[in-house]
Symmetry: D2
Subunit: 140 residues, 4 copies
């Protein structure tokens, strides 16, 4: 299985702001789309993780670097990989490219902590752990 | 107590789209703000309604008529009233005005059904009912 | 060509609210997606309409009726048609269905006025007019 | 004048997601609110900067660290300061606190480049420059 997951998303009018580009906070929705597809491709339905395994992937940190503006109706290619995984945390890295042309529009990272419904940190259940490549350590 | 509730909200960059005005779906957020303030002024904390009284105000219908565009940084005056209240439903009516000048920018309505956590319709608890003026009938 | 256009969209975490369903204002984004796809299938790139023909489709009225909640990760089927078209206005009608199962979750309508960049009403350029079936009158 | 600017914002239903907290991408809207108020308090109407001085504050980088979840109806206190200012760039730092209690819920930073309408970097006009404390260098 490829280390990367790729998925497409089209920029909606709703995503733009009056500067005529995607509002800076909305890139994090594209990161969410990439993250969910990364998991789906590996057989992980995040909805089930929440409902059946009481495991919520709570975001602890998020960063985006904006290189070129994404504009209305652009078809975006979202490339997602796990850049670090530990027992209780996962770090995803993203690249957003314009599908036509291939320029990188934005890059970013999100760090997540595994929590139960009450928001208390827990270890990622065993069955999911094998699906995330262990990148750095396994003690946290 | 006045029949109307009025509250102010400023248009954020996030609310605009590339046409340079507020995105049409975002007016419903301003209606939400008006609705919540209407209830707060009458001593109803909607959060408690959900948590303590298992009463959710679920929207069944929403309409907005757009008269003049609201633009970035406009200070909006949201005027909210109950246009109809029944045992299991409430209808709110809204006007959104530009605070400087007073033009009406949009008008709208939302119809709500009272439901429990499972989404099943129920009667509005007695203690809340007296806070909403009964406008039309009381049998539904 | 079919009278209807159909397109799919998946509910994102971003679209939900704490009631665990899609926020009521966000259905209008799904209507936008349906509307844009309806035009794209008929060879109309809305981006070009704005940039090359100075024709903006400005919303004048929008309504949604909520029948069943759409939830996180639901794949939605958005069915769009033109229910009325005149020289200076177009009315779209929408149905949002759950792709698995086919229940209708919401229905709605939007009425649009053709405007130029300054927001002044104008007639829809001839080349676009033939792409919208004339439904009622042609004098307005 | 205080180095900090503080402003309040209430969490709307729209801001939450089905985890019952503010969606992670929406904290960047609160940062926007803080940034705009910081400028307004110093006499800078960002709208005028765009319209009269052809100066757009384009975001180049944004980071948020999530410490405690912000929840529906929470009144947030957004504390904003300039952590670095150069000729062509400004860095803002933010803290989001729960107004009742005062816990820090999130911290973050945004880096901005001054651009003209075409998106080309330019120096911040002189009249604005004095309003931002120069923190580090003045050569870039």
């Amino acid at each position: 299985m490829s280390e990367f997951s790729e998925t497409l998303a089209r920029v909606r009018y709703k995503d733009t702001d009056q500067m005529g580009m995607v509002y800076y906070g909305n890139y994090f929705t594209f990161f969410e789309i990439g993250r969910v597809e990364y998991m789906r491709e590996r057989g992980i339905a995040y909805k089930q993780m929440e409902q059946e395994d009481d495991s919520y992937i709570v975001v602890a940190e998020a960063t985006c670097r904006y290189l070129q503006p994404a504009r209305y109706d652009d078809l975006l290619r979202i490339r997602t990989r796990v850049s670090e995984s530990r027992r209780r945390s996962i770090r995803f890295a993203y690249e957003i490219l314009r599908h036509d042309g291939g320029e990188v529009l934005a890059t970013g990272e999100t760090l997540h902590i595994i929590c139960n419904r009450q928001g208390r940190p827990k270890s990622l259940p065993e069955k999911y752990r094998q699906l995330f490549p262990v990148k750095i350590g396994s003690t946290n």
